[in-house]
Symmetry: C2
Subunit: 718 residues, 2 copies
Amino acid sequence: MRQRPASAMEPADLGLGDSSLHRYLDGEFWSLKNELRGLLGGCPLFRPRYDLNLDEMRTLTFQRVTFTMGLPLLKRAIQDQVERTRKFVSRSLVIGEVLSTADMATGVKCGIIYWLFGGAIRNLGGPAHVTQWLQPLQEQKYTGMFAMTERGHGSNVRGIQTEATFDFSAQEFVINTPCKDAEKMYIGNAMYGNYAAVFAQLIINGRSQGPHCFIVPVRDEHGRLHPGVTVVDMMHKEGLHGVDNGILRFDNVRIPRENLLDKFGSVAPDGQYHSPIKDKSARFNAMLAALTPSRLAVTFQAMGSMKLGLTIAIRYSHSRRQFGPKAREEVKIIEHQTQTLRLMPHLATALALTFASRYAGTLLDEDIFRGKELVSSRPLQALVAGLKAYSTWENVSCLQDCRECTGGMGYMMENQISGLKCDTDVFVTFEGDNVVMLQVVVRELLAQYTKQYEERPVSSLLRNWAESGSDRLRTSFLAFNMDTVGNLTFLLKAVHFRERILQRGLVARIYYKVMTKKEDFFRAWNSCLHHITCLSLAHIHRVTLEQFCLAVRNCPDQEDQALLKKENRPTRALVLIRWLWPAPTEAQELCLAFGGCPLCILGSPHRGPFPQDHPPCQFCLLYGTKLVFQERAWYLEHKYLTPMTSMRIRRQLLHLCDSVKDDALRVISAFNISHASLHAPIAGLANPKAAWVLYPAPQHSLAWERARSPRPKLRAKL
Amino acid sequence: MRQRPASAMEPADLGLGDSSLHRYLDGEFWSLKNELRGLLGGCPLFRPRYDLNLDEMRTLTFQRVTFTMGLPLLKRAIQDQVERTRKFVSRSLVIGEVLSTADMATGVKCGIIYWLFGGAIRNLGGPAHVTQWLQPLQEQKYTGMFAMTERGHGSNVRGIQTEATFDFSAQEFVINTPCKDAEKMYIGNAMYGNYAAVFAQLIINGRSQGPHCFIVPVRDEHGRLHPGVTVVDMMHKEGLHGVDNGILRFDNVRIPRENLLDKFGSVAPDGQYHSPIKDKSARFNAMLAALTPSRLAVTFQAMGSMKLGLTIAIRYSHSRRQFGPKAREEVKIIEHQTQTLRLMPHLATALALTFASRYAGTLLDEDIFRGKELVSSRPLQALVAGLKAYSTWENVSCLQDCRECTGGMGYMMENQISGLKCDTDVFVTFEGDNVVMLQVVVRELLAQYTKQYEERPVSSLLRNWAESGSDRLRTSFLAFNMDTVGNLTFLLKAVHFRERILQRGLVARIYYKVMTKKEDFFRAWNSCLHHITCLSLAHIHRVTLEQFCLAVRNCPDQEDQALLKKENRPTRALVLIRWLWPAPTEAQELCLAFGGCPLCILGSPHRGPFPQDHPPCQFCLLYGTKLVFQERAWYLEHKYLTPMTSMRIRRQLLHLCDSVKDDALRVISAFNISHASLHAPIAGLANPKAAWVLYPAPQHSLAWERARSPRPKLRAKL
């Protein structure tokens, strides 16, 4: 058993449980999470503060980060990264989730040091770099920052302009900011950090080898800036006030040759450049792959934020009463149809993301365990990029609804939701803008598509059509009734089918534009951007639903499984809600996908009556074949169904949301957020910083908490 | 010509224009707006600050409010309210819009004093109250607050528990807070204000006459609290840091009998209660009607916020470059399809809301001019409630997109968007929660519906069906092509039709539940809440589109009209975008409304094949008549169209957004936001508080500004 500081709090005092549902939702590392919750819960630094100015907030966050990084559990996490201990990624991800629930700014700053600075060294450096720069992070001798984004190049990082010129005589690199646009911007930890992992164009003999990453000293342990380095404080943001962002300028700063992280490109003492990857563009992609784990970390942080927001909003909704039948007690606001309709789908999403993000973490760990480089896992990179976009947007939308569903109380800082909103709002644009992330997903999907044809060039197109026959949905009027829509297998097939249709449509459009119309690729791609984002989200929805379904199926505890197997019980019902909602948007989009012609859906340039003047796209090679007409017949059959189906789906959704609203209390309880992190008076928890407000805890919730299996022996075994 | 203080800035220095488009978008009071912009622009107090703590921010806001309320222009506005000068409401509303663009907290605090405290006196008090309490506001001898919401009753204000017991012997009311739930909560200006308009149950001889409004002293001019009054500071919120919200408790505070605002209920010296409205519930509704102008003021504030956010985001999008064709200059981010798709529909909404809210203001002014009481204008109250919900939600969604479309820069406080987001987020739940507001709209729509049948009881149902024939849409496959969809008349008919279908469906459902199934009304209403919110928004969409179309048609300037008349020119095209977007949601919802059966759309309990076992709802009285089958045939005809139509609409939307993106610069320039209020570096305007960032102004924009008609003589004539 690991030593725990005296300050750690007992699970019972923090309202933590470890029932089978708690464990299943927390996952394999549930006890690690509970341990960290206990440690943070016992630390007075983490008590909520809204009354500090920017400097004070940064100072407090610095102390919180120092405390956190000093925990043996965190030191171990760094050593695990050094040694690439099995499953170290998944373990670090859940640490990040718990941290961000305790304080988002602390989570983000630890992420900068561990994932971004540490990850750059681990994934772009050699063994000597790991020993010299990563390992000492355990002793907190210094902290680091990650300097990629420039004023002129944010999303398009390939175009960065900072220069690292090799000086043969001195065996040094000269790091320089040649113009204003080359300034490093938004750099987190810029006002405190000692070293920066700086991306710069590597220039040898006047020739650029593309962007490489260098360790550059920024300030010494006393806070004195390194000569030639200028740091400008970027000051006030919407949230994350504890995170110090700044601008870095380098005026011919000299660093030793060894400070180049040289896994993908090294410079010998004689000035010779070597790289295992010859193509400059591919080389830079390999470096960008180093960002994969930190992107997944954002998903875990967004998930932590959703769980916290939902816990507060749902507890309040089960306690607060307003309006009701004449001359009778007012009803709980969760009884209002609109309240359930707004909150339950987000709860389903939080559950689904729990399993989908865990799955991505497992894949990362497996790859690393097998010694596979991140750069070689392009599908995984795409998955992580997609999850990052999906989860962070869902978080913004979830918190907005939580805020609105808690009325004026939700606007008060002590009730946490609005602070969470402000802190996590930046997630949708940092670590890769979401719209750019969705394009990463689709580039990979198209690459897979192309590869498939390269491997099976002869009858590939025909075979592809034939294959689609096998996953054709049962689509007669009768089959498309409520039972079928409520069937998980059907739903899975449906989202899969939607994805395929969108993918084929996109391929056809781009092929037509680029090959037939000879449009410039950038222009062609840009004119399909809306289609691309739809496809990307469809892909992520499918993967997320798959993982959610698997998780429901594989739930190990007999009692929980029985619960999950029953129709209309929380998780099962929530699975359905998630993919039937937000109706009508998604549900109708689904119907459109079913009902729409696979040839010309989403604006492929079909004009006039079918099929005579259909323009020559890939699929039109199949003109006149039986297959096309089968598809076409199928299409016509479907158009009849759309309005009826939408109605049914809507009715079913209302029913589902209503049926799970009480079970929701059990689900949020199993999110296992410690009462030290959950200090919203409207959630029924006292907050000394807002003594004037306290709502009663929801009664069901207390019942669930009492019913939690105590398992005292298990805890003693830790 | 009115005297202006020496500090007022000239329009040219503030980047203000007065071209015909500027004037048309600013409306009748364009010169008043420009005058106020000049006055605020010249006041150093309004320079942006992000570095103040809560107390300092409140102090600064107090100074800003004092400066503003001290302007002759504002004093005049109070005198206008006193005298009910013609068009005083519209004039005050545009003052509120300009104020909120300069500083939202100042706008909100002035609103509390002018609309809420002042409005309560004006609309609930008698002439003596107006003289005693409203008129002196001009001299700023004191300020007021509005104390309606209680801890236990926010949305359901009818249930407030504060008591005002009449003491016959002393000829006084005793204001008392009997329990914690009766505490007045979220009261704005609670930490500074001197008097409160307090809503309390009026109790005479132990019997309550329902809620009434009383003027209660809170603190004297030196800030000393009145005996028996306790104020608790509610401290930190997501935004509006300059607005001091607090909790008020009254411990048997005695006030003179004359402090009852007695328009709708008075107490004679002998303790006799008199009211022109006998029914308690109707009486309270009459008092709530006093809130109508302040709700409309929120719409103007939300609109100001949207215009400001869009101006910043669109200017940046026309300046910032990122990505582009290989080996070519990067393109402006406005060229990215997703960027235009996200921003242009919001711009259309801002334009449409400009005219719709102006229309509501005009109606209010006309009613007041004709001496009509607010309480008698229930349709107008419903319109204002609906506009409040619609505009504030649109604002939240608009600013979120502006924030995301400006990337990391949008997250920085100096670029204004994130601060605006935080300040205006509360708009969706204060002054009447939006979900409750939507129900107000539908209650009125149903009341109109019922009234219609009371007046024409015999063949009313049949006639209603017949009428629907006259506005039936041309719906054959050929007619539903791009040209038709692009036709404004068609679009107007379409949204009108959607509203009617939703309304009939709702009536049928509620009738069935309450009359046939004998369900409790609250339960029946609650189970239709989703349907109710859809209908309510459909109604507001229709009214807004109507006003927008009228405004386009009535544009007086020849040049502008020529511009507007052309297809694909900004305003015309933007009208279309707004109602085709957010596609697929709205567009598909529209199609669903077209394609869906008017009988059982949205979950009326139709089960099984039509029409044999259709349950007996209102419409089913018409079983077997030719009319139903005509409708039914029409329905079947439509289902064929849905997917094709959605595709067309989507393609048209992409085209429209693309075609207006350059014209957008001209539209935002005509929003006429002063450069003193627009200090976002990403908009190309220097901000001394963030010297480290400045982007170039968009070139087109500069061209537009240069092209602004100088009209120097007009200004001299003011």
